[in-house]
Subunit: 294 residues, 2 copies
Amino acid sequence: MGFTAGFIGLGSMGSPIAMNLIKKGVKLYVYNRTKDKTEPLVRQGAIPLSSPQDMFNYCDIVFSMVANDLALQQICLSENGLLNNSKKEAIHVSMSTISPMLCKELVEKHKEKNVYYVSCPVFGRPDAAENAKLAVCMAGDDLAKMKVKPLLEFVSQSIYDFGHHAENANTVKLSGNFLILNVIEALAEAFSYAKKSGVQIEDLLTFLTLTLFPSPVYKNYGTIISNQQYDPPGFKMDLGLKDINLLLRSADHLKIPLPLAGILHDRLMTGLAQGRENLDWSAIAMTQMEESGI
Amino acid sequence: MGFTAGFIGLGSMGSPIAMNLIKKGVKLYVYNRTKDKTEPLVRQGAIPLSSPQDMFNYCDIVFSMVANDLALQQICLSENGLLNNSKKEAIHVSMSTISPMLCKELVEKHKEKNVYYVSCPVFGRPDAAENAKLAVCMAGDDLAKMKVKPLLEFVSQSIYDFGHHAENANTVKLSGNFLILNVIEALAEAFSYAKKSGVQIEDLLTFLTLTLFPSPVYKNYGTIISNQQYDPPGFKMDLGLKDINLLLRSADHLKIPLPLAGILHDRLMTGLAQGRENLDWSAIAMTQMEESGI
């Protein structure tokens, strides 16, 4: 049985995910605000649409992967938005990193239109998206999740179910990004201490990843920081700030102090003030090195 | 060929390490300030000595594992200390977590007495010591390291060489302990956020250790924090404070600001102020949970 689906948002993550769906034989309708981003996909057989509201005319499952809360609100709720022309039993699979608060709100708005909203934020940089190696956090209605799963398997290496409450997947995503950025800052501090003490950063990194931290996050970011290779960015600094701000606002809402997250926020802010918005978010390590006189 | 060695300092780490040496057939001379700690080892065949200065009468290689800088200074330099009766070509294998500054000083003092000082701080909690699963960071004179290595293999699962400068192994040890404590605090913050958001901590931990952080540190401490099981302690809070203070003093000396380490220091200080000195150092997570109203 062939699949038909829609995809909204063809940025550095959306494009490779959509491409993997096409490669797996999915008939894919695509929409992007900037039209020329649809072209590589159209060349592979995707069918371009001129607005999100046409999506549910052609398909029961629509994915979206956009930059932030505002973009997703517009995609869903604006005059030519996805929900303006909804279809009973249709499913919106939202892969963006957005606030749990907006997620909750969108679940309600979708319900009013008889559309299921499934939260599916993903972990992995663009190369992981290309290689269908993403880790997907999924939450929402059980039947909807079951229908969506075969398609998610085309773009990911693992799918984790966080239950009925769609916003829980977003909470996990924000927690994960916080933990990743925390590793970056901690490695930057440890490396600046080690280097100024006379220890080779490479030796320390090898030891850490063979013993205490045999983890892709430590390996990847440890290597980037050790090589000081923040360009090309896998995840840009301004997107990192967006995510830490989502976490901090969400934690404010719930009344949770997060001392480490406060430091990480300031590091990103410093990086942006220093004109590093086009570097990888791990370039916050440059600030630590500079402050240490290295 | 049988080995003969000495062991000074039979605390929660020293005792199981010494026991493993005996089990491997090493003829072991032992010394501990509190005498009754030698008894279980003597029952297994260890020979007790009444002061460190007798050690080099009987063996060419002496291990030490003591609580802090002051204890190691006394073991080495006091009137009845190890160096008071040294022997040419003898080796002192120092496993304690001490400051790189004291290490440098001790290397010189040992050299004056024609004794090699090899730094061998270890990673692993008492259960890892018992099971000979420690990770050893080794640095110092090449010939001395070569002689010591077969004995270290009896007590560890891996040995990493950080070169000629003995203090480099201590730098790595302090960096590692900083990174571990940082994980504890980061998990505590992420877990308090997740829990108050409605996500099961256990689900988040499973996801993290299967994807981003398949690391023993995340698994062990994530489980301890999730279960709130800080007793019995694997590594007590006051020892954690000692190590973070060693890092901060050493970083001060080198002029390196460490913002995360400052937060970790204050967390430990708060834990001690709250009377938690006999709990595991991961009990700093209790403070984060309490502050979050959980």
